[in-house]
C-alpha cells in the first residue's frame, strides 16, 4: 500500500452561475514530497485549482461537483474558518508576481514577523532568529539588513526568495506555486526553480507547480498534468509526457515552442483558439477537435476518456498512438536564407544616454543608461536584442524613435541623423509594436480604421473605399479575415490584437520595425503564430526588424543576428547561431546556460540580484 496522497482532487467541477464549467472532472493526486506540474495555456483553468484549494474562488464561481482532500481531510466539507487556518500553516503559496505580493508600506521584517507569529513563534527575538535562519536557507545575503528593508529596495528574485522562505517557514505539507517565475528575468528564473526544488526536499513538502512552460515543468516536476479547456487531457511522469507525449495537444504545445538547441523547424501552428466555457458546454465530444491535426469523426460526438496507455501514463484521446504522426511543418528553402539588402537601415556609433535624475528632495545624480553602443542593422535584416530588465533595451528603443535625446555618439536611422532630424521626418519609416497588444488600440475605433490610422496624419487623400481595401489587404497580410475591419479591439483575442498592431505598423511601409517584447505574455500557440507571421512577412515586405526579447529561443528562431546587452552596454554581437552555440562573454554564457535549463547551480542570491538591489 502506497503512502496516503497529500493532495487528492477527485472529479472536480467548478462552474459559473450559468452552469458552464471552468473545470470539468479534474482528477489529481500528489504523493508526499513530490512535485506535480499543471501545464496549460491561459484560460485553461490552472489557477482555479489553486483557488479551489485555498477557498478563494472569484465571486460567481463555485465547486459544483467532486471533492478536494488534503492530507486525509476533506476540505470541501470543512468550514471556511477551519480551511483558512490551514493556509500559511499546512498549505503555503508562492505567487506569480513577487514584486507586488508583499505590502510596500511594511518592512520585510514586519511581514515575515507577523507570519511567524501566526504560525506560533512566540517571542520577537525568536522570530527574528528564525527569519534569519530561513533567509539564509533560501540563499539571501545579509538577512539581518533585509528585514529592515521595504519591498522596493529588493529585486524580484530576492523578493521571490523571501516569499519562498515564508511559504516553507511552517514546514507545510503542500506548497502551491502558481507561475512563480513568469515575472522574473531569465537568469533568475532557474535559480528560483532550483530553490523551490531544494526547499521541498529539505522540508519534505509536496508541491503543486502551475506553469505554461513545458520545458520548465520537465526540469522540475515528478509528474505532469496537461490541462486543456478545464479538463486534464494527459497525465503521467514528467519525462515521458515531455519526451513522448501521447496526446495531440501536448505534442502541439511542444512543437509550437521555439528551442535553443537542435535543428530549426517551423513552429507548429494551432488553428483557432481554446473554446470558452460557454462554447465548451456546446461541444459533445473532444474539446480539442476543432484544433486537432488528427481529429476524426469519432472525436466530434464522443468524448475520449482519460484512459491509461502505459503504467501511470493517461491520455484523453481516442488515438493516443497517432500522436507521433504530428510533425512540425518543415522549413522552406527561403525561410532561412533571406537576401539582405546592401544599405544600412540603422547605424549607431558610440551611442550613449545619461539621465539626470532628481530624487524627491531635489538632489541630482547622473545615471548612465547606455554606454558606447556600436552596431548596424542592414536592410531586411532581423536583429534580436537580448538582455535582462534594466540592461537598457527600452532606452535604446526610445532613442531610436526619438522619445529621448541622445547624449553621446551618433545614431543614424534610415539615413538621417537621429539627433538633429525632427521626429516627424521619421514618421512612416520607423514603426513600433509594443508588448501590451491592448494599450495601443483605441477601444472605440474599428479595426479597419485602426490599421490605416497612420494615413490620417499624412493626409493621403485616399477615398473611403480605397482605404477600406487597404485595411483588408493589411489584415490579409497578417492573416486575419477581411470582415474583421468592422470589429472593435475588445472583440479580438490577444494574439489577434497583436496582429492588428503589426498590420498597423506595416501600413506605412516602414523600413524599420521595432518589436518590443511583442510575444511575451502571449500563449505558446499564439506566440508561434506571431513568429511565423513575421517570418512570412519578411519574404514579402522589405523591412528590417529589431526584436527585443528576453527569450533567447524566440530570437534564435527568427533573427539573423543578435546583440547581447548587459548593464547599458553591448557585450557581444554576431550571428544568432554563433552566439548561442559559442558564447564568448561571461554574461552571454550565463544567459544561454539559464535558457538551456542547465544552470544546475543553486547558489545564493547572485551577484546580479544583489546588483539589482542597489538600483
Amino acid at each position: 500500500m502506497t503512502e496516503r496522497n497529500i493532495l487528492h482532487i477527485r472529479d472536480l467541477d467548478i462552474s459559473l452561475g450559468t452552469g458552464d464549467k471552468i473545470l470539468n472532472g479534474v482528477d489529481l493526486a500528489i504523493a508526499p514530497g513530490k512535485i506535480l506540474g499543471v501545464i496549460g495555456e491561459s484560460g485553461a483553468g490552472k489557477s482555479m485549482i489553486g483557488s479551489a484549494i485555498a477557498d478563494t474562488l472569484p465571486v460567481g464561481l463555485a465547486i459544483s461537483r467532486g471533492s478536494i482532500e488534503f492530507d486525509g481531510l476533506t476540505l470541501t466539507d470543512m468550514t471556511a474558518k477551519t480551511r483558512r487556518d490551514l493556509l500559511g500553516r499546512d498549505i503555503g503559496f508562492i505567487p506569480q508576481e513577487p514584486m507586488t505580493a508583499l505590502n510596500p508600506t511594511l518592512t520585510i521584517g514586519q511581514q515575515v514577523g507577523r507570519h511567524l507569529a501566526r504560525i506560533g513563534i512566540g517571542s520577537a527575538r525568536k522570530r527574528e532568529q528564525r527569519a534569519i535562519e530561513l533567509f539564509t536557507e533560501v540563499g539571501l545575503n545579509r538577512p539581518g539588513e533585509l528585514l529592515k528593508n521595504y519591498t522596493h529596495q529588493l529585486s524580484g528574485g530576492m523578493l521571490q526568495r523571501v516569499l519562498i522562505a515564508m511559504a516553507f517557514a511552517s514546514n507545510p505539507r503542500l506548497v502551491i506555486a502558481d507561475e512563480p517565475t513568469t515575472a522574473l528575468d531569465v537568469t533568475v528564473q532557474l535559480k528560483v526553480i532550483d530553490l523551490i526544488a531544494k526547499m521541498r526536499e529539505a522540508h519534505n513538502t509536496s508541491v503543486l507547480f502551475i506553469t505554461h512552460d513545458l520545458q520548465l515543468a520537465a526540469e522540475v516536476c515528478d509528474d505532469v498534468a496537461v490541462l486543456y479547456a478545464g479538463q486534464i487531457v494527459e497525465r503521467g511522469e514528467a519525462r515521458s509526457i515531455i519526451n513522448e507525449p501521447r496526446h495531440p495537444y501536448s505534442r502541439c504545445l511542444n512543437l509550437a515552442t521555439p528551442n535553443l538547441a537542435g535543428p530549426k523547424t517551423r513552429l507548429m501552428i494551432l488553428p483557432k483558439a481554446m473554446p470558452s466555457p460557454l462554447e465548451r458546454t456546446a461541444m459533445a465530444g473532444c474539446k480539442f477537435t476543432p484544433r486537432c491535426p488528427i481529429a476524426g469523426d469519432l472525436c466530434i460526438g464522443t468524448p475520449p476518456p482519460l484512459s491509461e496507455i502505459s503504467a501511470g501514463h493517461r491520455s484523453a484521446c481516442h488515438w493516443p498512438e497517432r500522436t507521433e504522426t504530428i510533425t512540425p511543418p518543415p522549413l522552406k528553402a527561403d525561410d532561412e536564407n533571406t537576401v539582405l539588402g546592401a544599405d544600412l537601415v540603422m547605424k549607431a556609433t558610440g551611442l550613449g544616454k545619461a539621465y539626470r535624475q532628481h530624487d524627491w528632495l531635489g538632489r541630482v545624480r547622473r545615471v548612465e543608461a547606455l554606454r558606447g553602443l556600436d552596431f548596424e542593422v542592414r536592410e531586411r535584416e532581423f536583429v534580436g536584442i537580448v538582455g535582462e530588465s534594466g540592461s537598457g533595451k527600452s532606452t535604446l528603443t526610445k532613442l531610436i524613435v526619438g522619445l529621448e535625446d541622445i547624449t553621446a555618439g551618433v545614431l543614424d536611422v534610415v539615413g538621417m541623423d537621429r539627433a538633429t532630424t525632427p521626429r516627424e521626418r521619421f514618421f512612416d519609416r520607423v514603426q513600433l509594436v509594443f508588448q501590451d497588444p491592448q494599450s495601443a488600440l483605441n477601444p472605440r475605433r474599428r479595426i479597419g480604421s485602426l490599421v490605416t490610422q497612420s494615413l490620417e496624419c499624412r493626409g493621403s487623400g485616399l477615398s473611403a473605399s480605397a482605404r477600406k481595401q487597404l485595411a483588408k489587404d493589411l489584415l490579409a497580410k497578417v492573416m486575419l479575415p477581411p470582415d474583421m475591419i468592422d470589429r472593435f479591439p475588445d472583440q479580438l483575442s490577444g494574439g489577434q490584437k497583436q496582429r492588428v498592431n503589426i498590420a498597423r505598423a506595416l501600413c506605412s511601409n516602414p523600413r524599420l520595425l521595432i518589436a518590443d517584447e511583442i510575444v511575451s505574455g502571449l500563449d505558446v500557440s499564439v506566440q508561434a503564430q506571431i513568429l511565423e507571421l513575421l517570418r512570412e512577412l519578411r519574404k514579402q515586405a522589405s523591412f528590417s526588424l529589431l526584436l527585443i526579447s528576453h527569450d533567447l529561443a524566440v530570437v534564435r528562431h527568427i533573427c539573423d543576428r543578435t546583440l547581447v546587452m548587459y548593464r547599458g552596454e553591448i557585450v557581444e554581437q554576431g550571428p544568432v547561431e554563433d552566439i548561442f552555440t559559442n558564447p564568448q562573454h561571461a554574461y552571454t554564457k550565463k544567459l544561454v546556460a539559464a535558457a538551456r535549463g542547465n544552470s544546475g547551480l543553486y547558489a545564493d542570491a547572485t551577484e546580479q540580484e544583489a546588483e539589482n538591489e542597489a538600483f
Partner: protein, 338 residues
C-alpha cells in the same frame, strides 16, 4: 529621517513668501477698487469734508496705490500690522485675541471630520456588496451636496430650536469668565480645573464643530472607501489571505496603512476650505473668532484687519499643507528610503 521631514516642511513653507505677496496685493487692490472710503468709515457721519480729507492724508490714502502697498508691506515685515480703524487698537491685538477661538473650532472640527470619516469609510467598505453600501453612498452624497453653512442652519433648527440641547451662539454661557491663559477655552478651563466652564464651552462649540466637521467627513468617507477597494485589489492583500490572515488582520494590519494615504493628502489639500468655512459658520453662531471679525471688518472696510486675517488664512493653510506632506512622506517608504 527627522532632518528629511524638516526639509520637506521647509520646502513647502518657502512658498509662503510669494503666496503672501500675491494674496496681499490682490486683497489690497480689491479693497482699493471698492467704492468705500476707509477714511470716511473711520469718522463719525457728522465729519466735515475737510476732516475726511485730513484723515485721508493721515492714512496715506492719497498716495498712489503701489506706494500705499509698499508702506503697508514695509511695516508688516517689521511686525506692525497697523491699527484697526474700527476698534482703534493695534490690529495685531485685535486679531490675536480672536485667533484661539477659531483655531479651537478648526481643530475640533478636523478631529471630528477625520474620526467620523475614517470610521465611516471603514464601515462603508465593510458593507460592500450589501444594501448598506448603497444607503451609505446615497447618504454621503446627500451630505456632500450640503454646504457647511446650510448644515449649520439645519443643526440650529434641530438641536437649538426643535430639541434645544445645545446653545446656538457665543462661546460660553453669559456670566462665566475664565482667566484667559492661552485663549483656548477648552484648554484653559481644564487647566484651571473648572469643569463647569469646560462643559459650557464644549456645549457652545458643539454645533459649529458639527457643522464644519460633518460637512467635511463624507468626502473622507468616500475617499477612504474607494481607496480601500483599490487596495484590496492589490496582490499583497490576496497573498496575505493565502497566508491565512483573518479579515480583521488584513484590514487593520495590511490594508489601512496603504489606504489612508489619499485621506492624508485630501485633508492636507482641503484644510484651506475647512478654515474658510469658519467665516460663515462663526457668523451664524455668533462665535467670536476670526471669521466673525473678518465679516465685521469687511462691513467697516477695516483694511488692516482684513489684510491681517487674509495673511493668517494663508499661513495656516500652507503650514497645514506641509504637515500633510510630511505625513504622506512618513507613510510612504518609497519616498523615505528611495
Amino acid at each position: 529621517m527627522i532632518k528629511a521631514v524638516i526639509r520637506v516642511i521647509g520646502r513647502r513653507l518657502m512658498a509662503i513668501v510669494p503666496v503672501f505677496a500675491i494674496v496681499t496685493i490682490l486683497v489690497f487692490g480689491a479693497l482699493r477698487i471698492l467704492p468705500v472710503d476707509p477714511a470716511q468709515m473711520s469718522l463719525p457721519p457728522s465729519a466735515t469734508i475737510q476732516q475726511v480729507e485730513e484723515k485721508r492724508e493721515q492714512m496715506g490714502l492719497n498716495k498712489p496705490i503701489w506706494e500705499q502697498y509698499a508702506i503697508w508691506f514695509k511695516r508688516a515685515v517689521a511686525g506692525d500690522l497697523g491699527e484697526s480703524a474700527q476698534y482703534r487698537m493695534p490690529t495685531s491685538s485685535v486679531v490675536f485675541e480672536r485667533l484661539p477661538a477659531t483655531i479651537e473650532l478648526v481643530i475640533c472640527s478636523l478631529i471630528l471630520a477625520v474620526f467620523v470619516g475614517t470610521v465611516g469609510g471603514i464601515l462603508l467598505f465593510s458593507a460592500r456588496g450589501t444594501p448598506f453600501e448603497s444607503v451609505g453612498m446615497t447618504l454621503t452624497s446627500a451630505v456632500m451636496a450640503l454646504p457647511d453653512f446650510l448644515l449649520a442652519l439645519l443643526f440650529i433648527l434641530l438641536f437649538g430650536v426643535l430639541l434645544p440641547i445645545f446653545p446656538v451662539n457665543g462661546r460660553l454661557d453669559p456670566g462665566l469668565q475664565v482667566p484667559a491663559q492661552t485663549g483656548f477655552l477648552l484648554l484653559d478651563s481644564l487647566l484651571t480645573g473648572d469643569i463647569g466652564i469646560f462643559a459650557s464651552a464644549l456645549r457652545h462649540i458643539a454645533l459649529p464643530v458639527m457643522a464644519l466637521g460633518l460637512a467635511f467627513s463624507p468626502t473622507i468617507v468616500r475617499v477612504l472607501h474607494s481607496s480601500l477597494i483599490n487596495t484590496y485589489q492589490q496582490s499583497y492583500i490576496r497573498q496575505a489571505r493565502l497566508r491565512g490572515l483573518s479579515d480583521r488582520e488584513i484590514l487593520f494590519g495590511q490594508a489601512l496603512k496603504n489606504a489612508i494615504l489619499p485621506v492624508v493628502i485630501l485633508v492636507g489639500t482641503q484644510f484651506g476650505s475647512l478654515f474658510g468655512g469658519t467665516l460663515l459658520v462663526e457668523m451664524i453662531f455668533s462665535f467670536p473668532g476670526l471669521g466673525n471679525l473678518m465679516v465685521k471688518a469687511m462691513q467697516t472696510a477695516d483694511l488692516s484687519v482684513i489684510m491681517a486675517i487674509a495673511l493668517i488664512y494663508c499661513a495656516t493653510t500652507l503650514i497645514f499643507n506641509s504637515l500633510a506632506d510630511a505625513a504622506a512622506y512618513l507613510l510612504n517608504p518609497k519616498l523615505r528610503t528611495g
